[in-house]
């Protein structure tokens, strides 16, 4: 029973265009959400987070949107760059921190020239 779902295992986007990665969750107690990026042979690295009191958080080319009523969040990357090619994990927590996080299964993003 997956509480955090990333239904697209892979996504291919042209360089310079917008990449949109989606994530759905089932637990209404989740109040903190994170995105991690993972390159091959490396561990996940933190990208951006959002608290449930917000509906948007922006950091440079990366923006995370949260729709609590739909239990859905998305990560927008614009413009997409070749270095963005990686696996992106969505994660969620029910204690307003990163102390105990539940991961999705990841989406592999490929940026094509």
């Amino acid at each position: 029973d997956q509480q955090v779902k990333q239904n697209s295992p892979s996504l291919s986007v042209q360089e310079g265009r917008i990449s949109i990665l989606n994530c759905d969750y089932t637990n209404s107690m989740f109040d903190y959400f994170l995105w991690y990026k993972k390159y091959p042979a490396e561990g996940p690295t933190f990208l951006i987070s959002i608290s449930s009191i917000k509906d948007k958080n922006e950091d440079g080319r990366f923006t995370v949107f949260l729709n609590k009523s739909a239990k859905h969040l998305s990560l927008h990357i614009v413009p997409s760059q070749p270095g963005d090619s990686a696996v992106y994990f969505c994660a969620a927590s029910a204690d307003s921190s990163a102390s105990k996080i539940i991961f999705g299964s990841g989406t592999r993003l490929s940026i094509r020239p």
Binding site: G43, P44, S96, S97, S99, I102, S105
Partner: protein
């Protein structure tokens, strides 16, 4: 420079032969985690330590044990590895319970023959 170090990066063991994976950190963080990630699946929390307090996830098999002799080191012991235990094992740290993100090591890929 490396903050969370995992050794070895690749481990091959035989079915039923005990194996130990190690994790060390230079961050002096209170909390250390072990995750198991199977191919194309979400990282799954096995257990974590807050200082010396051990917290086991309810569905972590008894075959998996952990030791944390000091702040810097944490070990994952698999007493009798089965073929189903082949996975990437990720170690992560957290300064305390009210922070933004966990910090991950590069992982150890375990192969069971």
């Amino acid at each position: 420079d490396a903050m969370v170090i995992q050794n070895p990066r690749y481990q091959v063991t035989q079915f039923g032969k005990p194996v130990t994976l190690s994790c060390s950190q230079t961050l002096n963080h209170n909390v250390m985690y072990w995750y198991q990630q199977k191919s194309s699946q979400a990282p799954k929390l096995l257990f974590h330590y807050y200082d010396k307090d051990f917290n086991n996830e309810a569905d972590t098999p008894d075959n998996f044990q952990s030791r944390r002799p000091n702040t810097s080191f944490c070990f994952l012991d698999i007493r009798s590895p089965g073929l189903g235990d082949a996975a990437m094992y990720l170690c992560a740290t957290l300064p305390g319970f009210s922070t933004d993100t966990q910090y991950f090591g590069p992982g150890t890929r375990l192969t069971v023959l």
